[in-house]
């Protein structure tokens, strides 16, 4: 389709007299960008889209880039905290019968490590990357529902603070990251520790769900004119599928944690077999979320890989359609696998076989993706830079993790190694190989866009090799010690078992791996302060985020691009086709149709507001209070209602009215 088609009469929405029909105040029109020179356009848009100055201004920001930056930094801090947990555990385990840490603290350590990594690092950081990139990649000026997005960040931060303050008070959950009943139930989990687990889940899931809905609507309704479904970048597809998985998976864990807190707090018996409940129900509900969770972390990473590889292979991705279909297939299949986490619970045999088969089935779309990536590299002229190095590291690591995964999908083997270090090794290969390595590659790849400066390539290579060696040294031997029978979640082991040397080696690897992140952090700071200026498009990549300056202005694009190709910047090298006619004195953006992305409405995007923060405080306070008394829900309702009314009540800006 050529861009001329877009302006043809057939494609334009039918004439409508929307503004003159019915009881409407006639629209106050403002200046448009049509024919405006670049300097005045910039002046207008910068004033309209800016985040107000001052503390209150900063706290009111609804700019997706500002929120995403906060998310990224916060999630990185949580990664460091979770990593410190791990290092402390590894020091304790580096030799037999070390007395550094007792069992009670150790229980809190591995639980905090697990929940921090899963709920405060992995999911938020992939969503945050999407909050930053998706609006830029689809060529719009802000995420859909910008205030909801701001709200989600504040709720996420309160959840993280809540968990870590509890840890500082020795009140952290100590029941493992999945908090099985009856251990976490009212009978065996006295005190507030399991309640902290349950409510920190509620905070983080509210936040993820909000981001997922905002992302879906951004992708479906705010794409630049002409970006029909077949021209959506693969990374955006990955985030779209992930967001759908979030929408259908996360409610399960909220239901689980709510049921748990009801059992603990008001004496319901949902998980209590003595009174007609059932403990396995907890596991079903949890893993109905828990398995898709792995894909919530992994799918965006595949999207990053699909963005990085074409840029460095210097050709569009091989098998674009195949890659999209695999993403969708993985999204669906991820819901058919949860029971493989419960093979050791004695399920009916036929059921178990079904879940073994579907666990192996998911290897097919994943295989298709890997094949398409390799073909892209094979056919291209690959330029090896740090982002691509991490992608290669991802291939290597993830394939090992996938292999042990297929092994674990067979019930007899799973029964043998269940709850041993073999499983710990497997899921770190999948999580770190499948998600952290692509994320690191993505950090090097998009850092120039976010900061306007390059990270050091030399330090990047050091970082890569340190991470690869440290990671494999730490986690590969865990397979072996797991097969020897070392159980997970033990704070020590006797010397006679002969596990001392290998554990010392593992711990050394873990420290090395941790140091690689210190080097990474240094490279980030160094790059932000001293890095070479990046320019708009340092990698000469083809998607829209590279069409604007680095870092992008508050309004993202001076004019909304008109898209005719999956790699728009490669298709039109001299000049980017753009749309004109938007108002510049109000936050206008284009709403387009779902499939074809025909421009349909000039919609106003929300202005900055402090109310999302106040609403998050009201909601967060209610959650916190609710671990002490169920009446919190009643007392919290009033402040929540007030802040929500403040949020939605129009203030008379042009953005509120039309």
């Amino acid at each position: 389709m050529s861009s001329a088609d877009l302006t043809s009469e057939r494609d334009l929405p039918p004439e409508r007299e929307a503004t003159t029909r019915g009881d409407l105040v006639p629209e106050r029109d403002g200046p448009r960008d049509t024919g405006m020179d670049d300097a005045s356009l910039h002046r207008w848009l910068a004033r309209t889209w800016r985040t107000p100055p001052g503390i209150i201004g900063a706290l009111s920001s609804v700019d997706h880039k500002v929120i995403a930056r906060r998310y990224l930094i916060t999630a990185f801090l949580f990664l460091c905290l979770g990593g410190l947990n791990a290092v402390v555990m590894r020091i304790q385990l580096s030799g037999p019968q070390r007395g550094l840490i007792g069992p009670d603290l150790y229980n809190q350590l591995f639980t905090m490590h697990g929940v921090t990594m899963m709920f405060l690092f992995a999911v938020p950081i992939v969503q945050a990357t999407g909050i930053y990139l998706v609006p830029l990649m689809v060529g719009t000026r802000n995420i859909a529902f910008p205030r909801l997005n701001a709200f989600s960040y504040w709720v996420y931060v309160s959840g993280g603070l809540f968990a870590w303050v509890s840890f500082a008070l020795s009140m952290a959950p100590d029941v493992g990251w999945f908090a099985y009943v009856p251990l976490s139930g009212p009978e065996y989990g006295p005190g507030k520790r399991a309640d902290v687990w349950a409510q920190m889940i509620t905070y983080t899931e509210v936040s993820s769900l909000a981001v997922a809905v905002a992302t879906i609507v951004t992708v479906l309704k705010q794409r630049a004119p002409g970006m029909s479904l077949d021209k959506i970048p693969l990374y955006v597809w990955a985030l779209l599928v992930t967001s759908f998985v979030v929408v259908f998976a996360m409610p399960a864990v909220m239901i689980t944690s709510t049921f748990l807190i009801l059992d603990r707090l008001v004496g319901t018996h949902i998980f209590n077999p003595a009174e007609g409940g059932d403990a396995l129900l907890f596991q079903h509900l949890f893993w109905f979320f828990g398995h898709p969770e792995v894909y919530i972390i992994f799918l965006p990473a595949t999207g990053m890989v699909s963005a990085i590889i074409p840029a460095f292979a210097r050709r569009p991705a091989f098998g674009h359609l195949g890659l999209v279909l695999s993403l969708i297939a993985v999204g669906f299949l991820s819901f058919g696998l949860w029971v493989h986490h419960m093979f050791a619970t004695g399920l009916p045999k036929l059921g178990a076989s079904f879940f073994t088969a579907s666990s192996m089935l998911i290897a097919i779309p994943n295989g298709v993706q890997i094949f398409c990536w390799l073909a892209t590299l094979w056919d291209g002229r690959p330029v090896i830079r740090t982002p691509l190095l991490f992608v290669l590291g991802f291939f290597f690591t993830f394939v090992i993790g996938g292999l042990t995964g297929v092994m674990l999908a067979s019930v007899p083997l799973d029964l043998q190694v269940h709850d041993t270090y073999f499983v710990v090794a497997h899921f770190h290969y999948v999580l770190i190989g499948g998600s952290v390595f692509p994320l690191l590659g993505a950090a090097y790849f998009w850092f120039p866009k976010i900061t306007g400066r390059m990270m050091s390539e030399r330090l990047g290579r050091w970082h890569f090799w340190l991470a690869m060696i440290g990671f494999n040294a730490a986690f590969f031997p865990m397979h072996i010690v797991g097969l020897w029978g070392m159980p997970r979640r033990v704070y020590t082991y006797p010397a006679e078992l002969g596990w001392g040397n290998i554990n010392l080696f593992i711990s050394a690897g873990a420290v090395l791996f941790f140091l690689s992140f210190v080097l990474f952090a240094f490279n980030l700071v160094h790059g932000a302060l001293r890095g070479a200026p990046a320019g708009d498009n340092p990698w000469d990549a083809g998607t829209l985020e590279w069409a604007t300056s680095s870092p992008p202005p508050s309004y993202n694009f001076a004019r909304i691009p008109v898209v005719t190709n999956v790699e728009p910047l490669w298709a039109e090298r001299e000049a980017l086709a753009v749309a004109t006619g938007l108002r510049v004195d109000a936050r206008e953006l284009i709403i387009s149709t779902v499939a074809e992305a025909h421009p349909d409405i000039r919609e106003k995007s929300a202005t900055p507001s402090i109310w999302p923060l106040l609403a998050a405080i009201a909601v967060g306070g209610t959650f916190l209070y609710s671990i002490f008394t169920p009446w919190a829900i009643v007392w919290g309702a009033a402040p929540i209602a007030i802040t929500l009314i403040g949020w939605f009540w129009p203030k008379g800006d042009p953005e509120d009215e039309e």
């Binding site: 001329a4 877009l6 302006t7 929307a18 503004t19 029909r21 019915g22 009881d23 409407l24 105040v25 629209e27 448009r32 049509t34 859909a144 529902f145 809905v213 905002a214 879906i216 609507v217 004119p225 929408v247 259908f248 409610p251 009801l262 008001v266 004496g267 319901t268 018996h269 949902i270 007609g276 409940g277 059932d278 129900l281 109905f288 708009d536 069409a547 604007t548 008109v562 910047l569 000049a575 980017l576 086709a577 753009v578 749309a579 004109t580 006619g581 938007l582 709403i591 421009p599 349909d600 409405i601 000039r602 919609e603 106003k604 209602a641 009540w649 129009p650 509120d656 009215e657 039309e658």
Partner: protein, 201 residues
Amino acid sequence: MNQRPALDISDLPTFGHGPRSPTWWGTLGFMALEGTGFALAAGAYLYLATLWPNWRLSAPEPNHWPGTIVTLLLIVSLVPNHILNGYAKQCAIGPVRIGMVVMSLLGIAPLIVRWFEFPALNIYWDTNAYGSMLWVLLGLHSTHLITDVGDTIVLTVLMFTRHGYSGRRFGDVGDNVFYWDFVVLTWIPIYLLIYWVPRLG
């Protein structure tokens, strides 16, 4: 990067109803996730019901009448709800104001009856798991009912201010209509589950 104007969108309208508007899609997204929550809670109920052969665990039968009245009220409310939707599409402020007042009242009415529904379950949440699940299901739906009625009342007030005369507000009314349909529709399976499914076997 250089730019080349290729498309003029200055004549596009500034708001749209239904699936044309992003808010409609956002509402649909929230319905999808809340609907999943409902489905999982119902699934948990059925899971326990099939697990225990003597389900209802020798508890007394609930009195279905308050629940049945709520059901009838909710179904009846769908009619003015959709009439209201038509007026919102025409951006007719007078009828929309009346419609919003009617819908606020039709939201409050089932809430009042709902108050009597809890004791009519004839069991407490902490008696056994059957009682727990009934209270959970009814509580889950009541939360939706309360929030949507609150939302409707605020929007009604808003429609009586000068902010009411805007396309965006009429769009909000349309989305409110849409969400009310969801609140009514999710009630039907829960109603059957609480009052009628245990009588089957």
